[in-house]
Symmetry: C2
Subunit: 317 residues, 2 copies
């Protein structure tokens, strides 16, 4: 079981599992396909929140309390911007700014996001391959009871307050996976594809909305294992469950598994959820899913890999 592994990930929760995977695998054999549906332009900077969280997490730079941004961050820039009457609803730390400035500068120079991300990962000493899901723009937009909102408007500025009625991944239909994404998913030595414990609607949804990626999972020749972002009806982080309820969906691990039906072979849930009723075609594996310590991350990563390896040897795959 030494083949490469691909993991689909959003920000904080997914990044924790990615870190665990990078510690139980040869990092060079781990490829992360990151959601870019939350990417946006702010103060003139091209910001890729999920890529940044994954990079900072893998580089050991992430703020341990927030789970995103940089540890030991300072905020002199934001104080000065506020003094000048600029926009302050999305807070950019002094060191964090550098990542956005470099990305923006290189994008303006014509480099694709995947190339820029690879450069930044190299400079930060990140071992796994971190790939944006596409070099084409995909923008998650939310139809709320206050009208359509861009993701960051909804998530940061409005603090997830407007009730969500509909979600669109604008541009996803026309977005192509980058060559590196297709190569990773089509690698004949591939061991498994893992879907991280990220919000299925906001983080994994945009990735799976790209036809080339969805097709790769639907036509998989290796096990696909998803890890539940919900434990006992509660999201580990963020608005997952409240948004599911607003959309008229049951806020449960079962519902997340159901949403992945046809794309996954196994679903890793916390032991408290293992007695729930899951779609019959999905093998359910129980493992502690709350990742507080680094050991929690490694164990959940190992459980997801074990689930995949078990399927690879089972007659059902």
């Amino acid at each position: 079981m030494t083949g490469p592994v691909v993991v689909l990930s959003g920000g904080v929760g997914g990044a924790k599992l990615v870190l665990g995977l990078s510690r139980v695998l040869d990092p060079a054999k781990l490829t992360v396909i990151a959601n870019t549906g939350d990417d946006f332009l702010h103060l003139g900077f091209a910001i890729s929140p999920d890529i940044d969280t994954i990079l900072y997490t893998l580089a050991g730079l992430v703020d341990p309390e927030r789970g995103w941004g940089r540890r030991n961050e300072t905020w002199k820039f934001m104080e000065a911007i506020e003094h000048l009457g600029g926009e302050t609803w999305f807070r950019l730390g002094d060191a964090d700014l550098a990542l956005h400035v470099e990305r923006t500068r290189r994008l303006a120079g014509g480099a694709p996001l995947s190339e820029i991300t690879a450069h930044l990962a190299r400079r930060l000493g990140v071992g796994p391959h971190v790939l944006p899901m596409s070099d084409d723009p995909v923008r998650t937009r939310l139809g709320t009871d206050e009208g359509w909102l861009d993701f960051q408007d909804y998530f940061v500025r409005r603090r997830c307050e407007p009730a969500v009625r509909e979600i669109r991944y604008e541009g996803a239909d026309a977005a192509a996976p980058s060559a590196a994404v297709l190569a990773a998913l089509g690698d004949p030595r591939l061991r498994a594809i893992i879907i991280g414990p990220s919000n299925p609607l906001l983080s994994i949804g945009p990735i799976l909305a790209i036809p080339g990626i969805r097709a790769a999972l639907a036509n998989r020749s290796v096990p696909v294992v998803a890890v539940s972002p919900i434990i006992a009806g509660q999201a580990i982080k963020g608005p997952t469950t409240s948004m599911m309820r607003e959309l008229g969906l049951p806020a449960s691990a079962e519902e997340v598994a159901r949403s992945y039906e046809g794309l996954i072979d196994a679903f890793v849930v916390d032991p408290v959820d293992s007695k729930a009723v899951f779609p019959p075609a999905i093998r359910v594996v129980a493992a502690p899913a709350l990742m507080k310590t680094i050991e929690d991350r490694e164990q959940l990563a190992s459980a997801a890999l074990a689930a995949a390896d078990g399927l690879a040897h089972a007659p059902s795959v």
Copy 2:
């Protein structure tokens, strides 16, 4: 003598005199026309070094040691940019960055530099009117023994090392003074125009290269007084004298006065230079020209104003 005063200024040296003027005049009656020939794009930011130095100086935010940038500045952004392999030859402090981000964002939105500068000045609590010499781009370029260099390349990256053979103010011929600049220079109540102790080649040269501004001085109906940036053959700051020598010019206060011939009525020099031979049409006024303390700035400002006021009542004007 309560009419408004206009001062032409570059960065550090000029800003010190501007500060002095703002303290001996009603600040609302002082208009600064700032050199923008050094403006450049760096890391995607529109940077206006002389405007920034003037704003920070008047706002009491300037670093007292360097004379430019902000006091109590931190450099987390630069450290992170360096870590990412970005450009570090032009150093941008964490708080200073905010000014460039706001300017860049507003320029991208279509606002003219003069409107943006007025907004920033207001936010910083700056009393005098600070005007870019033009909303049109003018770029000072230096023909050196290593070829043509942009100003910041020469000044910061190459630390003024290549010998200068020629100077061009690209775009100046086609640049129009902004409406505010023309209004300030044409104000019927105008008391005086002062040329600050800035580098005549790099800071005042670009301003005077704009035909509309040069014509306003050549056709002046009020006294124009220049303050020498050279004391006893030494520039108070920067490469003024070495550059004059490289260009085959005498590095002296007299030569600065000569370069302004036809545009000024009086020239304020340090007492050590008052015995030199100046162009006969220019009245020479001696006053201590080294500005170390705030009192020095106020006294030099008062001396320049007194020189103008003396000329206004003399039959020769």
